[in-house]
Amino acid sequence: MTIRIKKQSTGKNLCSAVEQLAGVDLSLCYQCKKCSIGCPVSELVASAPAEIIRRLQLGAGDELLQTDLIWTCLSCETCYARCPNEINFAGIIDALRTIALEKGAAKPKGNSPLFNRRFLNTVKSYGRTYDLQMIISYKLGTGKYMDDVEKFPTMLKKGKMAILPPMGANKNKVKRIFDNVKSKGKSR
């Protein structure tokens, strides 16, 4: 298969940014494709893991931040576990996610970035996750109002969904961690 990439326009190499952020050396990949073969979502995406690495090696630019594997990846880490050269591909995906978020390039189907923000917002507020608030606010943001509503009464009855927010966490400490990471700790 022929891989075509756009010529670099920004002059900033995405490959080295990813390598630095994920702590990997992409020159170690010799395209054995074990990562692509083991990947549970390979068949659902435009570019499988080994192809993403190849594109990075060839100097792909920010257009790669739109590739659908970035937000379809399940973080199952089968790719990393089976890589003969121990290249952390799940880490590469996390690095691409971080860069995509920074550049406002993360608008995938299903809107995982919104889900993650809503999730982390409840952690910031209560020190622990508050599923009910997280789910409702995610649904409000995506319009998926009716998905799973039929399960809700049973889950409530079985105590599988807490109605009240969580109590007992050291909220201030968590808020401090979020603030510190934002101001000085960020990955880059």
Binding site: G23, S75, R117, A162, V174
Partner: protein, 288 residues
Amino acid sequence: MKYAYYPGCSAHSTARDMHESCVAVAKELGIELQEIKGWTCCGASAAHQTDRVLAASLPAANLLLAKEMGLDMVVNCAACYSRSKNTNYEVVHSSTMYKKVTAALGQPYDGSVPVRHFVEVLLQDFGPKKIKKAVKHPLNGLKVACYYGCYLLRPPEVTNFDDPENPSIMETLIEAIGGEALEWPGKVECCGGALNLTRTEITVARSASIIEMAQAAGADCIVTACPMCQTSLDLRQRDMQKTNGKLYDIPIPYITQLIGLSLGIPAKELGINRLMVPPKAVLKALKV
């Protein structure tokens, strides 16, 4: 046997049964779990998909509390286990991460607190022989497919849990309580849980294929040690039915629930009634 216990957020929401059965089994066997006071969220998938430093710092806050207690940290949620072990790995292997995590926490954490999953404690510290002796209602050959999923096993250099392609910790425990642990091909597959609410169709397809593999092997039930896996396999059976047009009706208890039943702990204390698919076959085999 005394440990610092980290329940994790799902213990009070979608996985109360996981928490209840872990606590009940520990109590019955005389394993002391001291809950970490003021524990906070590990950040789960949302944090590592957003920022690597945040993802390492949130679990570090709890690990520091366990360190102050001077105890190993026991976790029953596979996702919290994975994130906490990842923190240990990151701060030990990268001086940059160590510095950034220290800056985020306002104090240093050196990655020295051992993180253990409750099933590791049961197998390695308590031991299958003693469990076997404590059994009051053996499983009577109940056919059990042990399902591990991702977080316990991968990446192996971080979790160091068991053979990442063919683990056997849960099989040993199931045999100890009188069940028949099946050989089946799905035990290290991914359930798709990370996209359970965002790309539900992927979770449904992944989880359905796992259930079908277990059923083809003749399973009466599938046990898990992960609340994400349990939710995907249990809660999504009705969606699988809608998508694939056939009946899915297999119980997905936590392994600690099965162990608890075999130890004679009342079903209610183990949260058995919380399972979406009622475990009738299990209760019948146990004669409880």
